[in-house]
Symmetry: D2
Subunit: 335 residues, 4 copies
């Protein structure tokens, strides 16, 4: 059995790792930390985990965790992961960081996140968008992608790699669980129900990941919708003149690109958040606008699974030589 640790096991990302890992046939969860709940039973704090886990929350001790674990997930806020990564790696464990701390080069990180990077080393983290970066298999440190970039990049990567894209506008709609477990004005039910809330419409930091992976002019505007889980991204794609493809040509490009990628489903019908709810799938559909140079690509993911903890486990599976879909293979919770 693989021994796994979770640093930051009391937020949505940590709990989603737990929800999935308690069912993973090859993984034993050895340690879960939480400052806030140190010493308390996980299943007491989170009754939905009863009786799936019999552990107490611990304090972080990177040396001890590294000793006890084959792999460690960091599910802590941006800025905190970099405090633990050096210690964990020094002691020889492999790390999957779900924060933003190692997704960008140090200089880019500092510019985008407006804070100094505390890690003395510039580490070679692999960007864990599994379908595009099979080299995660050999990584010592994986930087798990942001939720929005996962859905957005997967939606248009085949077209961008084909060299036919002039410009992309990503308009994304996310469930509120992406905002975390802490009650806030945006997550306050009377504010979000019967509403939709655009935010950071020209300034969201995730655009940096998108631009790095998709070297074309692109812009990104996120919105929160009144639902718990899921991100639907509407990609308005403009092609270079004369490059407009028929649906069949597009379809061929996508099918070639994602051949053998089991978590990508190319859909004839419209993707929905329910088909991916609780799963690691990314569903994608494309449509050509007649008499125009526009293609509209729609992608859906569960922000907490493919957009977070599921993708992290997908990376873990590859890093440890397991089948990619181990512990992640189930239909969506429909309806």
């Amino acid at each position: 059995m693989i021994e796994a640790g979770i640093i930051g096991g009391a937020g949505y990302t940590g709990l989603e790792l737990l929800r999935l890992l308690v069912m993973h046939p090859q993984v034993k969860i050895s340690v879960v930390t939480s400052r806030r709940y140190r010493g308390r039973q996980l299943s007491e704090v989170n009754p939905h985990l009863l009786p799936f886990i019999d552990l107490e929350y611990e304090e972080v001790d990177t040396r001890e965790i590294a000793d006890r674990c084959d792999i460690v997930f960091l599910a802590v806020p941006h800025g905190s992961a970099m405090e633990y990564v050096p210690g964990l790696m020094e002691h020889g464990t492999r790390v999957i960081d779900l924060s933003a701390d190692y997704r960008l080069k140090r200089a880019d990180f500092e510019r985008v996140y407006k804070r100094m990077h505390k890690d003395k080393e510039e580490r070679d983290a692999v960007y864990g968008l599994t379908e595009l970066h099979p080299e995660v298999a050999d990584a010592a440190l994986v930087a798990n992608p942001g939720c929005y970039p996962t859905g957005a990049i997967l939606a248009v990567a085949p077209l961008v790699k084909a060299g036919i894209v002039k410009q992309v506008i990503f308009d994304s709609k996310s469930g509120i669980s992406g905002g975390g477990m802490e009650p806030s004005e945006v997550s306050h039910f009377p504010n979000l129900a019967e509403n939709i809330i655009p935010y950071e419409v020209t300034t969201h930091r995730h655009v940096a990941e998108m631009r790095r992976e998709l070297p074309v002019p692109l812009s990104f505007t996120p919105h929160v919708i009144p639902c718990i889980r899921g991100i639907l991204t509407t990609a308005h794609v403009f092609l270079h003149e004369g490059e407009l493809k028929t649906y069949e040509e597009l379809d061929e490009i996508y099918r070639q690109f994602y051949r053998g990628k089991r978590f990508i489903r190319l859909m004839k019908g419209m993707p929905s958040l329910s088909s991916v709810r609780g799963t690691n799938f990314c569903d994608i559909r494309y449509e050509v606008e007649k008499e125009s140079e526009r293609i509209v690509v729609i992608s859906t993911i569960d922000n907490l699974v493919k957009g977070g903890s599921g993708q992290a486990i997908q990376n873990m599976n590859l890093m440890l030589g397991l089948t990619e879909e181990e512990g992640l293979w189930s239909p969506g919770l429909v309806p």
Copy 2:
């Protein structure tokens, strides 16, 4: 024009008073207070009030407010109203208190709310359930009822007054706006959406008001449902043996009791929260269970209007000799 003041004008209750009073043809809002937003324009803090009001939030000065206002609404938390009432009344203004501070006798208040009452006097507040207490017209101090008691008491008062009720179980379902404007665990969208949350299932303090107005054995259990506004109360009413009424007899009892009460609508179809949304109506329907001694009465109100600020204005209208429905007369926001 009547000059009205609102102490506590930044919470849901205060804002609902404002939403209604800015449209009231006979009222001029003279002063609105808020500690938190003192000195800021109301319409800047609450953009939905733009351009309906051109006032700044002020600090409370009871003497000055009493001087400037014919009537003052207290929309502050339980325990705070009693700090302002003595000063306001001393300076001769009439007061409608939307908190719980004057709804019960002092001794009952202290027992139920588990705190000392700070008002030195035991004041003769009239309980402002307008349909049952026309004497509000002459009151100097009105204690506006709780949201749950309003819907519950109106649902069964005709039966209780008829002396045929053995026992009542109120099972109420409320929108979350009843919980106020402050984000909390219960109001956190991922906790409330796709859920229903029972709370204080045997201990909710509103039962004291119900028992005072309805002297029969009764119990009360509230739940929060995933909607913003509205309370639906399901009253399971058991009659004394042999007292079971036909629908027609029941209907006669209700029609007699509520004759001329324009905000009570006795419904043939099932009441809904949308029919009362944004309005001061209380919709009521009753059904006799065959081969049983049970009657099920369903009532719906908008918790912020008939269950709060609207009823307060209804009381104001009576106190000031206006038509009862002035400023409150509009159909529900359907759909």
Copy 3:
């Protein structure tokens, strides 16, 4: 009193006309038709209108309606309005058509809606986007705009008229009431809750109205979100090179353009669906993306009010020489 008639008074558009007109101080509703409910009391079919209206649904008799009414609203499906307009106009009444039948030139209508126009005459209908077409005041026939075009056109008209826009992508998110009263797969709660549904992503017919009013390259993609009322439109606006404006310049353009338009609110904060809920306002906010040629404009409306029945009444007010905001002036239902 103005005598008004509603043809098609049992759908959401007709009911919203009723909700607003029963409160309009200068209007008497003289006749309301419905094939389905002919002979039944309006308030029996629609209990939320109790006791605001005491009329029965009638059959359509255009001559009689024209005789009895100063103004007639057509709230019938596309393709049906054109059956009534000739008769109504022949008998000399003025008409506000809420369907799409007279929004486009005959040829454009037939191409976009893929059906023959049955009216023998090509009539000079005025496009009733009130803020842009003050000539509605003199119109005999007003074609009330579609819900999406209302929010979209108002969002960017000032920029387009200023001649600085290269391209616009409208990404709109609508409440489901826009889909009407008939239950459907999309409106089925388990399909829409916890979801967002893009549809006609490159083919929605409303784009024709937008292109006519905004002569720049533009595309449009609509989505349904899990809420009842409201449309939020995200306009991704790209300017001609060198034309990028500062926020202050933009703000000046908008303020000049909408000077005196009382239903347009230019917002510093983010518009929300609740601030416009139940109202005729269109709230607009704009933001400049740094180091880019993009401006993001967000607009919100209540699709049934400013996007439908409210705007129709606004047009009626102008046509009949009343104040523009008569019967429409109230703050949004917040929360």
Copy 4:
């Protein structure tokens, strides 16, 4: 591998059987029928099942299905199951019927469901409320309980069996998926969102199952709440005089009664619909009202799992000698 068949595999109940059975390690789905979709791929009609199943919908042929299957699930409407059961049993397969057709004695069925029973035989179906009826293990025909009875009966069975209950009032709140896949007025989003809909408040047929299993005076009132999955039942329990138990005594009664029942979780905190979402758990909490003879018991289930298809599989597991929780053991989808 066990070969399983599903008659009626296109509704919510059938799809939920599929969602669970495709992951069941010991089951092969051999045949799935649907009149409506005969000849079409399951995963084309239900894209969330892609690529978990590679079967076409077939027509029902009871003889052939009986030959091919070790166990057959009937997920068809009330009144239809009785058409298939005789044929299936005659050909020697075991049957789990998710409809109401065999839950009551013939005479009771005909009285409650107001239709003739078409099966010539009165069959000895076992009522498949697994925790109370371990004899399902040997049954040839299992009548799977209704969704409401499952949550209601489990909530109070320990108290009723202890002989201390005088009367129970069940007030249940259900997600709308219980109403099925067909769009209706109640499931129309604008009708259900921001609302709660009581229905059949004194006449719901499920009360017959409850009364059979719980021989005490009881009444039942259901409501639909704006959520997709889940039933929360509030049981207002009145005890015989002098029987009022302390919390500790109650707790002992429940723990004894449900010892070893792995899908019953006795909760210290308040049960929620999310903790049981997608799972076969029934979470239960009880609270004693001071100075009263009332106990309030709250239970939650996922109506489609423990209240339907999950419980059916739990029964299948027992019938076939498997571990009770095989294929059903996972934490709830939180948040």
